[in-house]
């Protein structure tokens, strides 16, 4: 109790409130710019924390991270240019909503879902950190492998109107993820001696190319102006709508927390898994992909549910779950602190101060997000022939910014052409992205499992493996059954017409 009071005392300073507010605001702005990620913003902000108190520094960085995770959805919804890979899932329903004149509604639902998921994630961090961290520690290569297999089944839900094309798209994404140096033998795969490809295809240029560029190309080759996002609207999320989406948001938050607590699993998988689950269980599943508000809620809750949870392995075990938490770990170390069990004994007041600050950041996110929406929604008013050259400008600068090399611009253009072809032949781009993101994890854990043991029984070694095998099989059966039913309906429609 004393530590809690000391923690509150430590937190209650103007500097901390200002740091969170600035952090979240900067994060939202940076996250909304394609190519500039929360990771980049956190890394750039690190030098500014040298002169600050440890708690203020950590809260500033966490604020940027949280704002960045939410900010990615803004341009994903408005102009189909996701600011972060995880926000690509918000494109699926957010962009069609924006096109039908409901950009405000989509953005507001994204904000409410993000804040709710962020709060749930923070509460999980505060109350369940120890339990979740010990669960996450039980994940070895075979457990990860089955988790990734389960995550890959989401391809069925995001395949659009053709499951087979969706599967081919997902496989192509997996294939592209194999480019680069082999992780076990260090030999070259599809690099053709090109130095730029040694570390694989950069995911930010690929993401921008796959989603944003096809819209640009399509606009200039069409007779009409189909991209015209109808005027900035005052559409709101009604209470019945929010209540209807609340179970989806809570489920997405839970998925986000579970995935976020496992080091390396990532927000993209959480967002797509949450979306897939929402589509599987929703009464309006046929509207998913066409502008269903529940789809936006599912994607954003899965995405933001990860934010607080990634701090669980960091604070409780000292293990960074992703690049951002690795940078935050660096900030801890700069101030002479080492996250982990010892910190809970030696600096408990500081831990409580950080917890209170993180909880407060959810409220700040709601305020900053509401302000941002009011400004950003005006983008919807801009005529497409003016908006698209500017979008392309951000795409090019953002792609270059990833590694400061021209090659990434070429990668963005190449995948823009791929995305345009996929768009024209009715092949969904989202499975490609999920295949590309999960591909390295899939292959790495498959091969690491074989390195652990030659025996195939290694894949069935623990209850966690069995749980994920059951979930994978269940998800496959339900998804395929639904696809079969859809085909039958389509056949009936065609017969009637």
């Amino acid at each position: 109790m004393d530590a809690l009071l000391q923690g509150l005392e430590l937190f209650l300073s103007v500097e901390n409130f200002v740091a969170i507010a600035i952090g979240v605001a900067v994060g939202v702005i940076v996250g909304s710019i394609p190519g500039l990620t929360a990771t980049m913003a956190v890394a750039l902000a690190l030098p500014f924390t040298f002169g600050l108190d440890p708690v203020t520094s950590i809260l500033l960085l966490v604020g940027i991270y949280k704002g960045g995770v939410y900010g990615g959805s803004i341009t994903a919804i408005l102009v189909k240019a996701p600011g972060t890979p995880a926000a690509a899932c918000s494109v699926l329903d957010g962009y069609p909503l924006a096109q039908s004149g409901k950009a405000g509604k989509a953005l507001k639902m994204a904000l409410y879902a993000s804040c709710t998921a962020d709060l749930v994630s923070n509460l999980a961090l505060i109350f369940l950190a120890g339990t979740i961290a010990s669960f996450a520690l039980q994940f070895g290569a075979p457990e990860y492998f089955w988790l990734i297999c389960f995550s890959l089944t989401v391809v069925i839900s995001i395949s659009g109107t053709s499951l087979l094309k969706g599967l081919v798209s997902g496989l192509l994404g997996l294939l592209v993820s194999t480019v680069g140096l082999d992780l076990v033998y260090g030999t070259q795969r599809f690099t053709f001696d090109n130095f730029n490809l040694m570390s694989g295809v950069s995911y930010i240029p690929l993401l921008i190319g796959l989603f944003a560029l096809p819209e640009v190309i399509d606009f200039y080759l069409r007779k009409a102006k189909p991209l015209a996002v109808r005027g900035a609207d005052a559409s709101r999320v009604s209470w019945p709508e929010f209540r209807r989406c609340l179970p989806t948001i809570l489920r997405g938050s839970g998925i986000g927390v579970a995935i976020g607590a496992i080091p390396g699993a990532g927000a993209t998988a959480a967002a797509f898994l949450s979306y897939g689950e929402a589509k599987r269980t929703s009464k309006r599943r046929e509207n998913f992909g066409k502008g269903e508000i529940e789809g936006v809620a599912a994607a954003e809750s899965g995405n933001n549910g990860v934010a607080g949870a990634t701090l669980i392995p960091l604070l409780s075990l000292g293990i960074p779950g992703d690049v951002v938490t690795a940078v935050i770990l660096g900030a801890f170390m700069l101030h002479g602190l080492t996250p982990g069990p010892l910190m809970f004994e030696q600096n408990l007041d500081m831990i409580y101060a950080i917890f209170v600050g993180i909880l407060f950041s959810s409220v700040v996110l709601l305020i900053a997000g509401s302000v941002a929406i009011r400004q950003f929604v005006r983008i919807a008013d801009v005529p497409p022939h003016i908006l698209l050259p500017v979008v392309l400008l951000f795409c090019v600068f953002g792609s270059y910014a990833v590694q400061n090399q021209m090659f990434d611009i070429l990668v963005m253009f190449a995948f823009g052409i791929v995305g345009f072809i996929m768009m024209r032949i009715g092949m969904a781009a989202a499975p490609f992205l999920i295949g590309f993101i999960l591909g390295p994890l899939f292959e790495d854990n498959l091969r690491r499992s074989f390195l652990i043991s030659d025996d195939l029984g290694v894949f069935l070694r623990s209850p966690i493996c069995w749980i994920f095998i059951a979930l994978t099989v269940f998800s496959l059966i339900v998804g395929l059954r639904r696809e079969y039913q859809m085909r039958r309906t389509a056949k009936a429609v065609e017969a009637d017409s």
Binding site: L393, M406, K491
Partner: protein, 166 residues
Amino acid sequence: MPPLQKHRLHWRRALFGVTTMAAAAAFAAVIVPWGVVAPRSVEHLVLSPAFLPYVLSGLVGLFAAVHAVVSLRSPELADVAREDDAHPRWLSRLCILSILLCCYWVLPETVGMLASAIAVTGGLLWLGGERRWPVFLGIALLLPAAIYLFFVTVAQVPLPTGELFG
């Protein structure tokens, strides 16, 4: 849908399946052996760097074959609703767009990213039909300059200044 159009749609989908199948076969037969350097002996087949590319190409081919067969038998919702609204001069516009996009790849090393961005943004505005000169100049000059400044000063991204100006 008229029977002739339906017949064409089915064949088009089947053609996609067959083409993808052929591409997957060519990939497995030519690109994988050429592009993947595999050690002479590996402890386990799965550990070979070529294992996953072969499996994935095989699966792409398999699904493409299934797609080709299924396409001739049952419809797809997207194809039923698809409409063709290409611009009458889409080919010339495609050429102009390709040249403008190439500028972003070719010009920055010589004239710098800012000048390239101004040129391409201006070109795209013109292609999009913007003919109001104040708007045209304002957007083509000021916006690229503002975004360039943001990236260079705030985000600290060293965008190319070009050999001419650098």
